[in-house]
Symmetry: C2
Subunit: 207 residues, 2 copies
């Protein structure tokens, strides 16, 4: 039986391990790279090998950056009493693009997912709690900005319970909020799903 050359097979396997890339796509990418200049391949390989060496987790918020504390935590203009809890570092980019948030972040690096064996201890919830305990400036508000799906909701509920315990234990005055759910801008009510529409009814506000 004819088989592919080993160097190509190895590269295909590396691509296949990436999320959302199946065997066919991996094959196509590997064969595409055969026609690419050698310098581009070396550069790509270098970027991969040095990715984790040149980046660090911020010890305050666990964002990924080139320095510790990260770019956001080290800015004096940011409001340290307002913490936005997100699932992954990518979510920070989305928030920063809005230009409407001047607080700091806390990156959980995942969400509680029993199906994938990810419990509360696997993500950075303990670090959030100890950050709240240690922080010198009192925290005014924690925004739970996990994704509006099953795992994100479960994570937010778990964190909220832990924060309530913390509040009673330490007699803290701290708001815990959740992002608003409802119709996305530009949506069609006709095509909205029932859950989103009922959420947007529940969360309606005076005009």
């Amino acid at each position: 039986m004819f088989s592919l050359p080993k160097p190509i097979v190895k590269l295909i396997e590396s691509f296949e391990r990436l999320p959302g890339i199946g065997p066919k796509t991996a094959q196509r990418l590997a064969f595409y790279l055969l026609h690419v200049p050698q310098e581009m391949l070396e550069e790509f390989g270098q970027s991969l090998a040095s990715l984790k060496k040149l980046t660090v987790f911020c010890s305050a918020c666990f964002n990924i950056g080139e320095s510790d504390p990260c770019y956001i935590c080290s800015q004096p203009s940011r409001d340290k009493s307002l913490i936005c809890v997100v699932e992954q570092a990518l979510d920070i980019i989305s928030f920063e693009k809005t230009g409407k948030f001047n607080g700091v972040y806390h990156v959980l690096h995942g969400s509680i997912n029993p199906l994938l064996n990810i419990g509360p201890d696997e993500i950075r919830i303990a670090e959030l709690l100890s950050r709240l305990k240690m922080q010198s400036t009192p925290i005014a508000e924690v925004i739970l900005a996990t994704n509006p799906n099953m795992e994100g909701e479960a994570t937010a509920m778990y964190i909220q319970r832990e924060l309530n315990k913390l509040k009673t234990d330490l007699a803290l005055i701290m708001k815990v909020t959740r992002l608003a759910h409802g119709l996305p801008m530009g949506a069609d009510i006709e095509y909205a799903d029932a859950i989103t529409l009922s959420r947007s009814l529940e969360g309606r506000r005076e005009f």
Copy 2:
């Protein structure tokens, strides 16, 4: 404005250059790789950097392999008088999987595509013609197995014309064939497109 750490941006750019990977997917892949063991990253990087160093084009058929001549051309059992012309090395895998072809291949590495500025000289047509001229064993048949789309059809037509010239010039007796077009197995006539259905009518055979 908040921006991503440079090492991540560089990796995202490398991913974005791959076909079918947009900015969002590139971002997701790069962030995914932050959570992967360093050895895996090094291995991936190694595979990329050594991909072209460890593989060669077969000087007979331009297939990609670890040796020259390639695995297929070096097998004595293969029928050297039967040449199947394909657009890319990946197509060979599909043919080999059928187990129905015992000839050899010729890889064009592309198809004629005026929109992308790929003319007959950019793909390995000249090499096919000189191969046919040089070959010691007479060629019985050339199968033009380019893709059944606009570019593939144009390429097949161009090659057929060149082969006809060659045949008259050298007084060769050589069949030039094209793969059969028609309904794919398991298809529904109800949903077949008009071109495919008319091709399958034209190509009908006695039962």
